[in-house]
């Protein structure tokens, strides 16, 4: 399987069905979750730079795990996949793979951000 380093524009960044299911269609809650996700992911992505600089691979693995979970909770499947590869790269302490996963995750995050902005 080829390692994707870029984003996948053919797939929708946020599966609204997942978000609707999680919120039972509550519009306010959807917006609240979107904000929670964006703030948390932003913080975690920033922490990644620091972790990479200090070669804290276990921290990178944990951040990858957490971002994978929150992306999946919000229905951001492609971002969740990118962060899953970050978690795995962190576990393998593979710096090249970590950098590639961060690039892919960041690009996916930007797409998710745009999609969630349309909610408001």
């Amino acid at each position: 399987m080829a390692k994707a380093t870029g984003n996948d524009p053919s797939r929708t960044p946020v599966d609204m069905a997942v978000l609707r299911q999680a919120t039972s269609g509550d519009r306010d809650l959807m917006e609240e979750l979107a904000e929670l996700y964006l703030n948390d992911a932003d913080l975690q992505l920033r922490a990644l730079d620091d972790a990479l600089e200090n070669k804290e691979y276990d921290r990178i693995r944990r951040i990858g795990h957490s971002l994978k979970g929150s992306s999946s909770s919000i229905g951001a499947g492609t971002a969740a996949e990118a962060f899953k590869s970050l978690e795995e790269a962190g576990r393998a302490q593979d710096e090249t793979a970590i950098r590639a996963a961060i690039a892919r995750g960041t690009a996916e995050f930007e797409r998710v951000k745009k999609a969630l902005a349309e909610l408001r």
């Binding site: 039972s24 948390d40 979970g69 929150s70």
Partner: protein
């Protein structure tokens, strides 16, 4: 029910909190295992819904600690997990988990699991109430046991250093038995009858008076 939710991931935490509140339960949330343990030590919860992987104290360890507390009100533990491997399931059960819900969770499934939790915690509470009643009853039953030093003649009981108690008062105090006095036929013959005879004799007019 009082439900504690331990989840480090903010979106899942909020989704779980909203859902469980929506089912009509009282919900508290914490962000990691250590905070969950602290809350569980402070207050009783009927159900703990915990993420598996959390910083500090993970769901498995939290579960083990809850079970190691032993004789507390029962806390039903549901582990939230994306894990489906057989080994994980076994590890969760061995740690003391009652049930598992996979993430991201389905509302109907979580609701149904909480319904089971309610049934089980009610059974546990009933049982606990019954055990408490039994214990109370047992505490009230006083028993006399051991070696009692008793006087060979007057049958007083040697209670402490210089204290000898009449057997009636000793037994009354150390058991639930109470005394009602009467006279046995042997004692009637031996004690009462001679006294009555004596009385009758003393009342008979003296010859020649």
């Amino acid at each position: 029910m009082r439900v504690l939710i331990a989840e480090d991931e903010p979106v899942a935490r909020r989704v779980a909190q909203k859902a469980v509140q929506g089912f009509g339960h009282e919900v508290e949330i914490v962000e990691d295992g250590l905070a969950a343990w602290k809350r569980l030590e402070e207050a009783p919860f009927d159900v703990l819904i915990s993420d598996w992987l959390m910083p500090g104290l993970d769901g498995l360890e939290l579960c083990r600690r809850v079970r190691a507390r032993g004789n507390r009100p029962y806390c039903y533990v549901i582990l939230l997990t994306a894990r489906r491997a057989k080994e994980d399931l076994v590890a969760g059960i061995m740690a003391g988990a009652d049930d598992f819900v996979s993430k991201p969770f389905d509302h109907a499934v979580l609701r149904a699991r909480l319904h089971t939790a309610e049934r089980v915690t009610r059974l546990e509470q009933d049982l606990e109430g019954k055990v408490g009643e039994l214990q109370k009853a047992l505490d009230e039953v006083k028993t006399l046991r051991g070696l009692l030093p008793i006087c060979m003649y007057c049958k007083s009981i040697h209670e402490s250093q210089d204290v000898w108690r009449r057997i009636e008062s000793y037994v009354s105090e150390h058991s639930q038995a109470e005394f009602t006095h009467s006279i046995c036929p042997d004692c009637y013959e031996k004690e009462v009858k001679p006294q009555l005879d004596e009385l009758r004799r003393s009342k008979r007019p003296e010859p020649g008076a």
